[in-house]
């Protein structure tokens, strides 16, 4: 342990172990992940999964990233034996590597100051999302989530009020003749949040037996004559 080169070689070998195990090998194994088919459930047809992120949602992902939303929210559902995520209705199944295939910047987060967002689209809609972004305390009176008013604009009403103006209670309402309208960033972020869903069972996380198709036979009516 007195020779510099020995120490360097030893450190190199140790770092190589860690790097190989956690950077190289996973890349070799998962780097080639491609779209796959969902497992057939009941009468449903098998579908391609995952689907690419719609354009506005990609822009919204940038807003999500820029405002550090990942510091309070995770985007991964844990398996049933490692927490109550599934029982809480946060997802149909646990999250898999396949779910994040088409996200350019994967922000899984590492802490839940707020709830998990992996399947947020299943439990919210546009109006609710925009209200929550504007002032979370309108939805939950003692929410810790910061208001994102800077994503909205208070402007004078034109000839007609905007269709996407927020409907706010009196104490938050803008002065007479003004309306609160989401900026493009807010709309993009809402589109992103409403695209977050992990539908369809995959091979790695199959459906429970109660959802298995009863038989693979084609129903009698469909038999060709």
């Amino acid at each position: 342990m007195n020779s510099g080169p020995t120490i360097f070689l030893g450190l190199f070998a140790t770092m190589a172990c860690s790097w190989t195990g956690f950077v190289l090998a996973p890349q070799l194994q998962l780097g080639g992940l491609a779209q796959t088919n969902t497992v057939v459930v009941g009468d449903a047809l098998s579908q391609t999964y995952p689907l690419a992120q719609p354009g506005e949602a990609s822009a919204g992902a940038e807003v999500y990233r820029a405002n550090g939303c990942a510091s309070c929210h995770t985007q991964m559902v844990r398996p049933g034996n490692l927490g109550s995520d599934l029982q809480r209705g946060w997802g149909l199944r646990r999250s898999l590597a396949e779910d994040y295939l088409f996200e350019p910047r994967v922000l899984l987060g590492s802490q839940r100051v707020g709830p998990d967002l992996a399947n947020f689209a299943r439990r919210s809609d546009l109006k609710a999302v925009l209200m929550r972004l504007y002032n979370p305390r309108l939805i939950i009176h003692d929410s810790l989530m910061p208001p994102h008013r800077f994503l909205f604009e208070t402007r004078k009403i034109g000839f007609f009020p905007s269709t996407n103006a927020l409907v706010l209670p009196d104490k938050d309402a803008p002065p007479d003749g003004y309306e609160v309208v989401p900026r493009p960033e807010a709309r993009a972020l809402a589109a992103y949040l409403l695209s977050l869903r992990q539908d369809g069972y995959l091979f790695e996380s199959p459906p429970p037996q109660s959802l298995w198709p009863k038989t693979n036979a084609v129903p009698k009516k469909a038999a060709a004559k």
Partner: protein, 478 residues
């Protein structure tokens, strides 16, 4: 009696050139810039942390513009601490240990000064960019890509100087602190460049990005910061109590096992990755028990015969308290990695508490312990240059601050985890029930920020003393 405590006297070696009066060949300015800048960044990070903590009392606090919204401020706090305080203090300490233990002078002092300026400038621009929304979104790796490239260049300059300084050392056995410094300065460029390449330049597909980000964060903490703090502990504790380190081989075991196992881990048990990756991480983290115990045994055997000596030097308290916090944080990390425990504690404040203890408890305190010794000597002064009262207040403020913050967040995390385990408790309910301990942590953040402030005051005092001395010497010579 004194013969037992004080090792057999060796002829005192000649003080290094920069300690000789009027010496000009080794410019300590570079190391000083790194360390003083680091102290300033720690204050900035602590203030960000305080602001972030206040938002838990009033989420609308500072939220009118996007610049200071929670997400951006939290990212800025992280970046300021890790890249503003963490890396420069690691490099500065490393350079100093190389000079001291190798009896050499800094190689390329001007390059070090340039590297230090470049680094601090890049971090400042990076933090500003983060507040403007350019954060990468990855925890521990918030700097935008252009900033990361400049940081890489600055580190290269500093690293090459450090390597040459190490190379110029006096021949002879290496002391454990030197191995740890070599380790930390070797590790950082590798993990940082991997992260830059794989997350920003040519992004990996899907969940692999998260994997690399977690791997980077774990390595940054356990190996890079851990090695630096341990180097400081291994140097100052035996030296300032006048006893030899108990076992060279225990230190070697700790070094290699921490390098191997402290680099394999950090993946949450519920991550969307195949189970082999997660299992490897769990095994790696649990095996860090070996370096933890090796270090604990080593220091216990070194000091237990004369515990009073630990309190003789007021600045030594920072170092050994920091070390104890390292042991606690390490034990907590091991517990949190086990699947049964992580089912409760993953993604709660439990992990945040551990990181808080590791960063502000272990790393910051150990670095302060080193700074109290190093800074006067860079300026040709002695420990007496510090104002002892301020030092004492700084210690208690930081120590209590970290303790309060840690206990508060730990209680919040455990309560949150246990309550969330039953799906009947809605997330909002759990939040309400854990609000009180969470808000208590603000007191801890306040004390930590206060401590950093006091240190800077003390530092200013020391710098002005050095300036006065310099001016007086110039007058004498004139």
């Amino acid at each position: 009696m004194s013969a037992m405590v004080f090792p057999a006297p060796k002829p005192a070696p000649a003080p290094p050139p920069w300690q000789q009066p009027g010496a000009k060949d080794s410019c300590p300015a570079g190391i000083l810039m790194l360390l003083a800048g680091a102290a300033l960044w720690l204050l900035a990070a602590s203030l960000c942390g305080l602001a972030v903590s206040l938002k838990f009392h009033a989420p609308g606090f500072l939220a009118s513009e996007g610049y200071l919204t929670y997400g951006r401020l939290r990212a800025a706090q992280n970046a300021a601490f890790l890249y503003g305080f963490g890396v420069p203090s690691a490099v500065g300490l490393g350079l100093w240990f190389f000079c001291r233990l190798g009896r050499a002078t800094v190689a390329g002092p001007v390059v070090v000064a340039i590297g230090a300026t470049l680094w601090h400038g890049a971090v400042a621009l990076g933090v500003a960019a983060i507040l403007c929304g350019k954060t990468t979104g990855f925890d521990y790796f918030e700097m935008p890509v252009w900033c990361a490239r400049v940081l890489m260049l600055a580190f290269l300059l500093l690293g090459v100087c450090a390597l040459l300084t190490f190379h110029q050392r006096d021949p002879g056995p290496l002391y454990p602190s030197q191995w740890f410094v070599v380790g930390s300065l070797f590790w950082f460029p590798w993990i940082f460049s991997t992260a830059v390449l794989v997350l920003l330049v040519v992004p990996e597909r899907g969940a692999l990005q998260a994997l690399t980000a977690w791997w980077y964060a774990y390595n940054f903490d356990n190996v890079f910061l851990g090695f630096t703090g341990l180097a400081s502990a291994f140097y100052f504790i035996p030296k300032l109590i006048g006893r030899p380190l108990h076992s060279h081989y225990l230190a070697a075991l700790a070094f290699w096992t921490l390098a191997l196992f402290g680099s394999c881990g950090g993946i949450p048990n519920g991550a969307p990755l195949p189970s082999w990756i997660i299992s490897l991480a769990v095994v790696g983290t649990v095996l860090t028990a070996v370096p933890l115990l090796a270090v604990a045994a080593n220091f216990y055997q070194t000091v237990y015969k004369d515990l009073n000596a630990m309190d003789a030097d007021p600045a030594l308290r920072f170092t050994y308290v920091g070390l104890i916090f390292w042991l606690i944080a390490g034990a907590q990390q091991i517990a949190g990695a086990l699947p049964q425990v992580s089912a409760l504690t993953d993604f709660t404040w439990f992990g945040a508490a551990q990181k808080e203890l590791f960063h502000y408890g272990f790393f910051a305190l150990t670095v302060f312990g080193a700074l109290y010794y190093i800074v006067p000597r860079l300026l040709g002064l002695e420990n007496s240059a510090w104002r002892p009262k301020l030092l004492k207040i700084h210690f208690y403020s930081s120590f209590l601050g970290v303790l309060i913050c840690y206990v508060a967040l730990l209680v919040t995390g455990l309560e949150q985890g246990i309550l969330l385990a039953s799906p009947g408790n809605s997330f909002t309910d759990v939040l309400r029930r854990t609000m009180f301990p969470l808000r208590m942590s603000t007191l801890g953040d306040l004390l930590v920020a206060g401590g950093a402030c006091i240190f800077l005051l003390n530092l200013a005092g020391v710098l002005s003393k050095a300036c006065c001395r310099c001016r007086a010497e110039r007058k004498e010579r004139a």
